[in-house]
Symmetry: C2
Subunit: 168 residues, 2 copies
């Protein structure tokens, strides 16, 4: 009568990032069709002090791989943050999905009560594994996925909610 930490983390995170890759694919196609330099979109922001599209994608993947790795109690793979094209960002998403897929239920199940300590600018934040997943990792990943989507929509890319939600 319950769900496992694995099933509440790895499959949904994988799905959110896979959908984001599809969203970026539409952004790339839009740039090509309109003969727009793709970097115009990748450096686009919704406000001068918000991060541009490329950083939104980097952070979405960082939060997903870091979140799952912390729940599993292992090191998160480090990526170079040097992507400058849609193809490179989609490759980063694929590598993140691949890392998530390498995790097993045995590594993550049972982490709901594990203490997770994050060092943030404001100091240390302590969570149980369950709070960390539901109240930090998932909203952070979806925040950056949505912002990436919104930047492309704001620039005229034809996207619908179904692109964001993805398919099983």
């Amino acid at each position: 009568m319950t769900i496992s930490m694995y099933s509440a983390s790895v499959p949904p995170l994988r799905r959110y990032l896979t959908a984001l890759s599809g969203v970026l694919g539409k952004g790339a196609a839009f740039a090509e069709a309109r003969k727009i330099d793709p970097s115009v979109l990748l450096q686009s922001r919704l406000a001068p002090d918000m991060l541009p599209l490329a950083r939104q994608v980097q952070i979405a993947t960082d939060q997903a791989k870091g979140g799952a790795a912390r729940l599993a109690g292992i090191e998160s793979p480090k990526f170079a943050d040097d992507e400058t094209t849609f193809a490179q960002l989609r490759d980063r998403l694929a590598r993140t999905v691949e890392f998530l897929s390498s995790l097993t239920p045995a590594q993550i199940d049972g982490s709901e009560g594990r203490e997770i300590v994050l060092t943030m600018r404001a100091g240390e934040a302590r969570f149980t594994g369950q709070d960390y997943l539901l109240n930090f990792v998932v909203p952070n990943v979806l925040f950056h996925c949505t912002t990436a989507y919104a930047i492309l929509r704001h620039n005229g890319v034809e996207l619908g909610k179904r692109d964001f939600i993805g398919t099983p």
Copy 2:
């Protein structure tokens, strides 16, 4: 070694909407300080064919209350969709949080395998309760919460990720 459907739904959804209410509070204060008609913000969009701020808030609450009600197998409360002020939208969020708080673990626990059928424009969509929560309700609610935040940020309201993530 698992988590319950109640704990994976009601407390996080409540938290996301409570944080959104705080975000709207900052939007209202911004409008007042700058002597901007609040409806300018409430009708603001990120793209001509995206929904304005007020609708984003209405849909976030609809997805949250409808999602939790479907998992509980009960009717979702109906709201009139007639909010025209920040205060009214924050009241709608408060009423949604109140409804979520009225649900008990006994009503929602065990719904992970329950069949949920949605009638959508593209036809019927069938989910298990767990898929419905993690791959539909949560991403939809957070999509609209993020878009509301992004509309206000785009209009110059001083908001940070911590406003979006909220506090326990």
